[in-house]
Assembly symmetry: C2
Homo-oligomer: 230 residues x 2
């Protein structure tokens, strides 16, 4: 929940932020696009936000590159601030509201470490695997690279599972790191791989059970559903 006392006046006076999202997400409304962690963080802290829907064509227009140098979603605009990179946007939200980063300096630094771990250690191993698994089924290298990328992925999941152990969340209380890590792990849901990692599976389900996750998920699904009716 938002704590007004921690919000700098300069931020408090700003209008509600606007994020950009896919008009029709390629994930079919499963909440795997990168607006999902941003929506979830905004819902956790109770920050209302606006959404600007972009077609694939609009994402490639010069006007959007002023918001996002790589022509992707999401961007985040609030007053004079224009941000990109979902990890940085989630961190910005967490720094300017209470509840998503520990106040204690040491635990705060550890939480930031897990934010980077989600995006720079775990996610690459997942994307390398899911790219072969989902998009390279007909390539001659499919079987060999599926085995190799799976081996590398399982090593990372073994290590993450070992560290998580019986912990409820990555670093003490629920934090911005859990938002990023759970969104990353959700990319494996349809593969069934997490079934061999009981504590990771339970961890993902704990995240998905939070009311803020559900609100964020429903909001992104509503965008996809509306586009599908056209």
């Amino acid at each position: 929940m938002s704590n007004i006392e921690t919000v700098p006046a300069s931020i408090e006076m700003k209008p509600n932020p606007t994020i950009t999202v896919f008009e029709r997400s390629p994930d079919g409304g499963r909440g795997l696009a990168r607006d999902m962690p941003v929506r979830w963080a905004l819902e956790e802290v109770g920050q209302p936000y606006h959404v600007r829907r972009l077609s694939f064509e609009a994402m490639k227009e010069a006007s959007h590159f002023a918001y996002q140098p790589f022509g992707q979603i999401p961007s985040y605009e609030q007053g004079d601030l224009i941000l990109f990179e979902s990890g940085a946007i989630v961190m910005h939200i967490a720094q300017h509201h209470s509840g998503l980063l520990p106040e204690d300096a040491l635990r705060r630094a550890r939480t930031v470490a897990w934010m980077f771990a989600a995006l720079n250690t775990i996610e690459p191993s997942i994307l390398n695997f899911t790219t072969v698994w989902l998009f390279e089924r007909n390539e001659p290298w499919h079987e060999a690279r599926l085995a190799r990328t799976k081996e590398q992925l399982l090593k990372r999941l073994d290590e993450l599972s070992a560290w998580l152990g019986d912990r409820e969340w990555l670093e003490g209380s629920f934090s911005a790191a859990d938002i990023l890590m759970i969104c990353v792990l959700r990319r494996l849901e349809s593969s069934g791989i997490l079934k061999d990692y009981g504590n990771l599976l339970a961890y993902v389900e704990r995240g998905k059970a939070r009311p803020a996750f559900k609100r964020a998920f429903d909001a992104q699904l509503a965008v996809f559903t509306a586009a599908s009716k056209n």
Copy 2:
């Protein structure tokens, strides 16, 4: 604008940090391992540090996993704080010293966006390419995947080059984002690919010309050279 992350006295009073590094880096002393951005950041802010050298065997021992949950380098230890993930360590250093993050809140947030962009948008496209290029030369898929990963890489470099334009650094003054981005781009040095991107090449060279970079580079090279004499 406010400086969000002020320096707690508890950190200021801490002993010099200790980082872990490869005893014998697999890059042959070229400064491509992930201790390099951490060393560079420490040199930029004038923070002395200790180094603990790890063999490949020591990195896989349970004792190291207490420092680094994925059995990698670098870890960062200072008093009661144990950190991992080079991006998070560089951010921690930047938050607790002046000079690597703008004081202005808006520019600070933009700089953090570029830190994440270096590690979550640019680096994956580089690692996907260099993995095929360096380590999969004898695989039957080498040519096909080299072409594909190069195409994806060039798209990202086009976008980065377009954004950088005539800028000296990514976001105003030299920052922690430049440390991470230049360390990431250096992975392409031996490929010659940056020769087609004059402004990116000049950007990398500007970073390498900084005295702090040179001190960091020489320090990591000295570790490799010492190991090679054994």
